[in-house]
Amino acid sequence: MPDLTAKKKRPLWYNLSPLNLPLPGLVSILHRVSGAMLFLALVWFLFLLDMSLSSEAGFARTRAYVGHPLVKLSLLALLWAYLHHFCAGIRYLLLDIDKGVGLPAARASSYAVFAISLVLTALLGMKLW
């Protein structure tokens, strides 16, 4: 007689596509992605800052360099990365001290992270373009 109490081994399938994540999960993975972007860009930021502060000519060169559309586009992406990382980071600091850990609050704060970081990216991006 077959053992009816034994658990059948069923295959597990998790859909791990970022598009399938709940909003707080999307904030989380983008926090990681933006952090990685910013780390990789660190050397570039230092290069730009060094050049712009070095001399009058260096400042002019930096100005011409960041005027290039591709550079501007990259800086816009990094601006988003910084703002997302900033807003999501503040959310995590609040979660650490038990603020907004309930599901409705966590969802609302995830919306806020996206809304604030995207609007600020658009505003600052337009101002700096």
């Binding site: 952090g35 780390f39 660190l42 050397v43 800052l49 060094d50 502060l53 009058e56 400042f59 600091l93």
Partner: protein, 115 residues
């Protein structure tokens, strides 16, 4: 229940704490630097350099630079621990990243001391 005797290692607590403290420092420094740039006249080299020579801008930038290196180290290490399983490759990457961050720190201080 996990039977684990917590002794010796810190199980990442100091890294976790450092990441939070540096985050708070950078958040404040970001606001200070942003206000500084915002209130500056149209940027020329002299204005730009003078901006960083102001003590509160200089200090914010200095604290930001030191914080970002520590913060990035904890974050990148977390990413490597999650995705890079072979110990040899992970250790190699960790050493390379530590060296890079050490270099960046010296570079940032060099920029600051030249102002």
């Amino acid at each position: 229940m996990v039977k684990r005797i917590i002794v010796g290692a810190h199980y990442g607590l100091s890294g976790w704490l450092a990441q939070r403290i540096t985050a708070a420092v950078m958040a404040l420094a970001t606001l200070v630097i942003l206000i500084g740039i915002w209130s500056a006249p149209p940027l020329t080299h002299a204005v730009w350099k003078g901006l960083f020579a102001k003590w509160w801008m200089w200090l914010s930038f200095c604290l930001f630079s030191l914080s970002v290196m520590l913060h990035a180290w904890v974050g990148v290490r977390d990413i490597l621990m999650d995705y890079v399983k072979p110990t040899g490759i992970r250790l190699t990457l960790e050493v390379l990243i530590l060296l890079a961050l050490a270099y960046y720190t010296v570079w940032a201080m060099q920029i600051l001391w030249r102002i």
